[in-house]
C-alpha cells in the first residue's frame, strides 16, 4: 500500500512516519509540505491512503482534496478545527487530534480498514459548506492551482458537468454543480438568477424586461444574462425593489 503524508510541520510528519513503521505493508512514497506539493504527489503516485493536515499554507486540506477526482481514503490530522471535526463526525470518519498516541493511531487505521465506502468526498462537501460561506474558490488552471477571491467572481454559468467561473482574471472551470456554488457562496452577494446562472449582485447595472415572463440583467462587465421567473423574484427580494 502506498501512503502520502501532507503536513506543513516536519515534526508532525515524522510522528506519523514513526507510527507507520509497524505497518510493514504500507510504504510512505512521499512527504509534502503543502497542498500544492500534495496535489502533485497524489496525481503522480495515486496513493491508497493520505495523512492530511487541515491548516496549511495557501490552500487548506479540504481545498486540496476538492481538486482531486475520486480522492483516496484520508486520515485527517488536526490540532484544533471545530468545523472540520463536525464534518468528520457527520460521516462517522475517524480523525487524529494532535498530539495523538500510537494506540489512537492504530485505532484510526483499524477503523479505516473496516470502512466499506470511501467517505472522503462526503467529508469535503460538508466541510466546505461550513461554517461560514467561503470567501474564496480554489480551482485548477492548466495543472496550476488558482485561488479566486469571491469578490473577483463576476458570474457563474452551468456547462454540463462543470461550472464556468467568469472572474476578473479569466474563465475557469470547476467540476461542481450549480447547487454547490449556490450553497457555498455568500448568499447576499451571489444570486441564482437562472437555472444556469449565478451572478455577483455588486455588478448589476440594469434589469430589462425581455419577454413576457423573462428579464435580462446587465452587468458592469457588459455581460447580458437571462433571468428566470423565479430568479426575478429572488433578485427583487435581495435588491429590495
Amino acid at each position: 500500500m502506498k501512503a502520502i503524508i501532507i503536513d506543513d510541520e516536519p515534526l508532525a510528519r515524522m510522528m506519523v512516519k514513526e507510527y507507520l513503521q509497524s505497518y510493514t505493508h504500507i510504504t510512505v512514497v512521499e512527504e509534502c509540505n503543502d497542498g500544492f506539493e500534495g496535489l502533485k504527489a497524489i496525481q503522480q503516485h495515486r496513493p491508497d491512503l493520505i495523512f492530511l493536515d487541515i491548516q496549511m499554507p495557501k490552500i487548506n486540506g479540504f481545498e486540496m482534496l476538492e481538486l482531486i477526482d475520486n480522492p483516496p481514503p484520508v486520515i485527517f490530522t488536526t490540532a484544533f478545527e471545530e468545523y472540520a471535526i463536525k464534518a468528520f463526525d457527520a460521516h462517522a470518519a475517524d480523525y487524529l487530534l494532535k498530539p495523538f498516541s500510537k494506540e489512537r493511531f492504530d485505532k484510526a487505521m483499524q477503523k479505516l480498514q473496516q470502512q466499506r465506502v470511501n467517505v472522503t468526498q462526503a467529508i469535503i462537501d460538508t466541510a466546505l459548506h461550513s461554517p461560514a460561506p467561503n470567501n474564496r474558490i480554489v480551482v485548477k488552471d492548466n495543472g496550476k492551482i488558482k485561488i479566486i477571491p469571491v469578490g473577483q467572481i463576476q458570474y457563474l454559468e452551468a456547462a454540463d458537468d462543470y461550472v464556468k467561473i467568469f472572474a476578473a482574471e479569466g474563465i475557469f472551470l470547476k467540476k461542481k454543480t450549480m447547487q454547490h456554488f449556490e450553497d457555498v457562496l455568500p448568499p447576499q452577494e451571489f444570486i441564482r438568477i437562472h437555472r444556469s446562472y449565478i451572478i455577483n449582485a455588486q455588478l448589476i447595472t440594469r434589469i430589462d424586461q425581455h419577454e413576457k415572463d423573462s428579464h435580462l440583467v446587465l452587468l458592469t462587465t457588459g455581460a447580458r444574462l437571462p433571468v428566470s421567473k423565479a430568479g426575478y423574484v429572488k433578485l427583487k427580494e435581495i435588491l429590495g425593489i
Partner: protein, 324 residues
C-alpha cells in the same frame, strides 16, 4: 336599583348608571394607557393622588354636564344629582385611585422584567467576551501543535524535546505574568517574543527564519505588554500560511524622538491575501488598544511593498507616573 328606591324611573336610573359607569371606565382606561407611556419614577404616590383627584373631578363634571343636558327639565332628578355629588365623587375617586395604583404596579413590574432581561443579556455578552479572550490567549492551535512537535521529538531526540518543553513552559509563564503588569520594557518584550519565535521555529523547521534588530537606545523604552505579540503572531500566520517556501520575519525597533517605533515585516502574496478576510481582525484590535491607551489613531501604519507586509507601530513614551 338603589336609585329606584329613591323613587326614580327605571329609564332615568338606567341612563344615570350607564353614563356614569361608562365615563368611569373611560377614565380608568385613560389612566392605564397613560401609564404605558409615562411611568413615574419618583413621588409615585403623590402622582397617584393628584391624578385620581383630577380625574375624578373631571369625571364628575362631565357626568353632571351630560346628564344635565339630557334631563335638565326634571327638577327633582337634578336636585337628587346635587345631593349625591359627594358620594359619587368619593366612589369615583376610589375607583380611579385603585385603577391608577394597579396600573402603576403592573407597569412597574413589566419594567422590572425587561430591565432584568437586559441585565442578563449584558452579563451573558460580557461572559462570552471574557471566554473568547481567554481562548485567544491560550492560542489552542499553537499550543496543541507545539505539544505534537514535542511528542514527535521524544522518540528520536529526547534532549530537544525537553528543551522545547522548557521553552513552552517559560512562554506560558510569561503569558500569565503579562496579564498583571501593564507596561514593560522593550528588552523584556523582545525576550518573550524570542521564546515564542523559537518554539515556532522548532515547529516549522527551515521554513521560518527570524531577524530581530533593536537599537541600543530603544531597549529600555517602555511599551504596553502584549502589544507586540499579536503583531508578530499575525506576521507569522500570514507569512507562513499565505506563501510557500522559506519565510523571514523581520522585527526592528528604534527611537524616533519621543516615540518607540517597532517594525514587523513579513512576506505575503498580494493576489490571494485579499481573500483572507481574517487579516484585518488582529490589526483592528491592536489599533483599538492603541486608541484606548493614547487616544490616537495614527500610531499603527500598514505598508505593502514588493510582496512584503509591513506594520509600524509607534508608542509614545509616557511619564513615569503613568507607567503602572
Amino acid at each position: 336599583m338603589v336609585l329606584q328606591d329613591f323613587g326614580m324611573a327605571t329609564s332615568r336610573s338606567g341612563a344615570d348608571a350607564f353614563i356614569s359607569n361608562l365615563l368611569l371606565a373611560f377614565a380608568c382606561l385613560l389612566v392605564f394607557n397613560n401609564m404605558r407611556y409615562y411611568l413615574p419614577r419618583r413621588e409615585k404616590y403623590w402622582y397617584v393622588l393628584v391624578i385620581s383627584i383630577a380625574l375624578s373631578s373631571l369625571w364628575l363634571l362631565t357626568m353632571r354636564v351630560s346628564l344635565w343636558g339630557l334631563y335638565k327639565e326634571d327638577v327633582s332628578y337634578m336636585r337628587f344629582m346635587s345631593q349625591t355629588s359627594n358620594i359619587r365623587y368619593a366612589i369615583g375617586f376610589l375607583m380611579i385611585g385603585c385603577s391608577t395604583m394597579l396600573s402603576l404596579l403592573w407597569y412597574s413590574q413589566q419594567d422590572q422584567q425587561s430591565e432584568n432581561k437586559r441585565k442578563l443579556d449584558m452579563e451573558r455578552l460580557a461572559r462570552e467576551a471574557e471566554l473568547n479572550k481567554l481562548r485567544q490567549q491560550l492560542q489552542p492551535h499553537f499550543l496543541f501543535n507545539s505539544l505534537n512537535s514535542i511528542s514527535a521529538l521524544t522518540g528520536s531526540q529526547p534532549e530537544k524535546a525537553r528543551h522545547m518543553i522548557q521553552q513552552l513552559a517559560d512562554f506560558l509563564r510569561g503569558t500569565l505574568k503579562k496579564e498583571e503588569q501593564q507596561w514593560t520594557t522593550l528588552e523584556e518584550e523582545v525576550q518573550y517574543l524570542q521564546l515564542y519565535l523559537d518554539i515556532e521555529k522548532v515547529r516549522f523547521g527551515y521554513r521560518l527564519q527570524t531577524n530581530i534588530d533593536c537599537e541600543e537606545a530603544a531597549l529600555q523604552m517602555r511599551l504596553p505588554s502584549m502589544l507586540l505579540q499579536p503583531l508578530v503572531e499575525n506576521a507569522i500566520k500570514f507569512g507562513l500560511y499565505d506563501t510557500i517556501g522559506e519565510v523571514t520575519i523581520f522585527i526592528s525597533a528604534k527611537r524616533v524622538n519621543d516615540l518607540l517605533e517597532v517594525t514587523v515585516q513579513n512576506p505575503f502574496d498580494e493576489s490571494t491575501s485579499a481573500a483572507v478576510k481574517g487579516t484585518g481582525f488582529g490589526l483592528a484590535s491592536i489599533k483599538r488598544r492603541l486608541f484606548l491607551l493614547f487616544a490616537r489613531y495614527d500610531l499603527l501604519q500598514i505598508k505593502k511593498e514588493a510582496q512584503q507586509f509591513i506594520t509600524i507601530i509607534s508608542i509614545p513614551q509616557q511619564h513615569e507616573s503613568n507607567n503602572n
